[in-house]
């Protein structure tokens, strides 16, 4: 079991005490940990969040005494920018292989992960993914790929289950669902999954509206939502169109019981609240999130805000978590031998994590226990509203009419 050093006030004193004798003894050896992230290009924002998350975790781990089973060996990160491009992503893995990295973290996006996992497999380097949720990544029979977070299919299923249970709990009469999605891989595949799952909780998809991710206006699409008399609107799209949808619905005063997204581009993002202010209230989103009841989570979020002047975002949290999954495996492997690290990863059994699920891997390298939570923006804060064991607030459905609040 891992024992995480708390990153709280006391930690400095403790590590100061540990560090001093270490200087007198031989310098503890270093373990090279590779990281490939899109630090420039289209995914630069998310990639840099991931990089910061890993950096925070590695600093904590090193300050907490490194890898004990290897005499307090420190983790040394080799961070490479894959420029959001698959060919560059390949060359980052080659460079990490040449440099002798014990394992690789990253690369945030699925399109990059298809390439990086395949390269890592070729060189037999353990690769712990941070986000990269496309189901197919762990369906290719790779032995060196591990993903602790829920994949796309799991996320859609959880959110639909939560919606069904919530409708029952609150005795809601909602039936008519409109799906609005961008026509790329993310939006389309999510909409496909939802269309299959929603009838299972007694809801009908009455309209399905695709749009281009680069669209400048959603006025016609919102008219179609209105005409369809939707109870629930489910957007699966990127940040821009997601906030545009809200603005347009508010402008046209299209009232629905809930706007609920699955891995929504703008859902569960503090910058969204900053950008659209009151419009964001009552938005719901099923997404990656932390366990709000975990005793350490507040301290970690505060440490991240202090170090990087950035509010909470799940992108960095999952990257942070992936570094701890690797740390635990290194501790148990007591070796930087890639095969031993892989076997240790495969035997992972972590409980009491900041993510709201235990971490273990099935034979495909996916964590079957992973799950998303359902959040709602309430009073300009993102609160977990479902399932009940993690809930910080009661969900507000139906949401108040636009006319009364904007």
């Amino acid at each position: 079991m891992i024992t995480r050093r708390a990153f709280v006030k006391g930690a400095a004193a403790v590590t100061g005490g540990l560090g001093f004798p270490a200087v007198l003894r031989a310098q503890p050896k270093e373990i090279l940990v590779g990281e490939t992230h899109p630090l420039t290009g289209g995914l630069a924002r998310e990639g840099n969040l991931g990089k910061n998350g890993i950096e925070l975790a590695v600093n904590e781990i090193n300050a907490g005494g490194g890898i004990r089973s290897m005499g307090g060996a420190r983790l040394r990160l080799m961070v490479l920018d894959n420029e959001s491009k698959p060919p560059v992503a390949i060359s980052t893995i080659e460079r990490l292989k040449d440099a002798g990295a014990a394992a690789i973290l990253g690369p945030y996006a699925s399109g990059l992960a298809f390439v990086t996992t395949q390269e890592a497999e070729k060189y037999k380097i353990p690769h712990v993914l941070d986000v990269a949720i496309a189901d197919q990544i762990t369906e290719r029979g790779f032995r060196y790929t591990f993903r602790a977070c829920p994949n796309a299919g799991m996320g859609a299923k959880h959110t639909v289950d939560y919606l069904g249970a919530m409708a029952k709990d609150l005795k809601l009469s909602v039936k008519r669902v409109v799906l609005i999605h961008e026509d790329g891989i993310f939006g389309k595949s999510t909409a496909d999954t939802l269309q299959k799952l929603l009838p299972g909780i007694g809801m009908d998809v009455v309209e399905r509206i695709p749009h281009s991710a680069a669209t400048q206006s959603l006025a016609n699409e919102v008219l179609r939502i209105k005409a369809a008399k939707a109870d629930i609107v489910i957007p699966s799209t990127y940040y821009g169109p997601h906030s545009l949808l809200l603005r347009t619905m508010a402008e046209q005063r299209v009232d629905v019981a809930a706007i609920l997204s699955v891995y929504g581009g703008a859902g569960s993002q503090y910058r969204f609240i900053k950008d659209v202010a009151k419009l964001a209230d009552y938005m719901m989103d099923g997404n990656h999130w932390y366990n709000p009841k975990h005793p350490r989570i507040k301290g970690i979020i505060a440490a991240f805000e202090k170090a990087y002047q950035h509010p909470f975002a799940y992108e960095w949290m999952l990257a942070y978590q992936s570094a701890y999954v690797l740390k635990d495996a290194l501790e148990r492997a007591a070796s930087t031998d890639r095969d031993k690290v892989r076997d240790a990863l495969a035997a992972t059994n972590l409980k009491d994590q900041i993510v709201p699920y235990p971490i273990a891997f099935n034979d495909k390298g996916q964590n079957p226990h992973a799950r998303t939570l359902l959040m709602q923006v309430l009073d300009q804060k993102i609160a977990v509203v479902y399932p009940n064991e993690f809930a910080e607030a009661k969900p507000v459905i139906p949401m108040p009419a636009w006319a009364g609040r904007v």
Binding site: L39, T40, A44, N48, D81, E83, P86, P87, I90, S91, E94, R95, K97, D98, G111, F114, V115, Q118, K122, Y123, Q136, R140, G141, D183, G184, I185, K188, S189
Partner: protein, 313 residues
């Protein structure tokens, strides 16, 4: 000088025996690969002077055809590659006929090619039986040479080296053939060439077919090497630019331009990446500045500059 090509090939052939670094092998593989598709573009854009801004069209057809035939029918990409090339030739003849028959030249031809590639990108995004927006993941079978899959990168290195050597040899032969001279005549002055009895329509279509077939084989190679292709990777405008960048920098309409350009851009990209590690993105800025300088000061590419020096010296 005559032995230089064989010498280069020999050097290329022994590098993997001497170098253990996967990174060096991988980087060289990509340099050869871009030189290969650049050579494909070079036939039409360089020699025949028909500046295509949509060669991703042929690249994508190659990548998609070999991958789909493998995924849906189990056909080995070794054969699928040639099916892709055949389809790309057909697409080239069709788009070429439509453009040349109606006399599109210069910027208009560049734009129509861009539009054709976009049509295919949007179609590939929306047709589920070609993978839709997800694209195609080539199923991996471990080390399976019969299926164009290898456990070691060096196989890919040698394959693309041979493909590049073949293409370079072919273009060299083309340059001094009757067809090559006709292409050059059309490039320099199409009306004058026609006045001298060159069937411009026919020569341009031939250039288009050769160019399309070659580029498509590069697409199939890409799909096997990366084992993943989606509509933007295959047919996207970024890809069209990547394809034409190297021959233009190296020298369009020259045998060695694409290879030289690919080495320069590849080396430059990796060099700036290695130099500036601490600030994300700075290496891309330097790369961009050098690229602009090259375009401004070397309007005929590096080969043009070398030739001028040769004449003066």
């Amino acid at each position: 000088m005559r032995r230089l090509p064989l010498l280069l090939l020999a050097v290329g052939a022994v590098i993997p025996l001497l170098v253990r670094s996967e990174y060096v092998i991988g980087t060289l593989t990509l340099i050869y690969f871009f030189a290969f598709v650049g050579q494909g573009w070079n036939i039409l854009g360089g020699y025949a002077g028909q500046f295509s801004f949509g060669h991703a069209l042929f690249f994508g057809i190659g990548a998609y055809t070999s991958s789909l035939l493998f995924v849906k029918a189990g056909l080995t990409p070794w054969v699928g590659m040639w099916c892709g090339a055949a389809l790309a030739v057909l697409a080239g003849l069709l788009t070429g006929h439509l453009s040349f028959r109606f006399g599109l030249r210069g910027a208009y031809f560049a734009l129509i090619m861009l539009a054709f590639a976009e049509i295919f990108r949007v179609a590939a995004t929306n047709l589920d039986w070609v993978g839709g927006s997800f694209g195609i993941l080539v199923p991996l079978r471990g080390h399976a040479p019969a299926l164009f899959q290898f456990g070691d990168k060096r196989y890919f290195y040698y394959i693309i080296l041979l493909m590049l050597a073949g293409a370079t040899y072919g273009v060299r032969r083309l340059e001094s053939s009757k067809l090559g001279y006709q292409m050059a005549a059309i490039r320099e002055n199409e009306s004058a060439a026609e006045g001298l009895g060159v069937n411009a329509y026919r020569v341009k279509l031939t250039a288009m077919a050769l160019s399309a077939g070659l580029t498509a084989r590069g697409g199939s190679f890409y799909a096997q090497y990366f084992s993943y292709v989606d509509p933007a990777i295959g047919f996207g405008p970024t890809n069209s630019i990547e394809i034409l960048l190297r021959p233009i920098i190296g020298g369009a309409g020259t045998v060695w331009g694409p290879l030289l350009g690919s080495f320069l851009l590849g080396g430059l990209g990796e060099g700036t990446r290695g130099l500036v590690k601490s600030y994300a993105g700075v290496h891309l800025m330097i790369y961009g500045v050098i690229l602009m300088a090259a375009v401004v000061f070397l309007p005929h590419g590096v080969m043009g500059w070398l030739r001028r020096r040769g004449v003066r010296g």
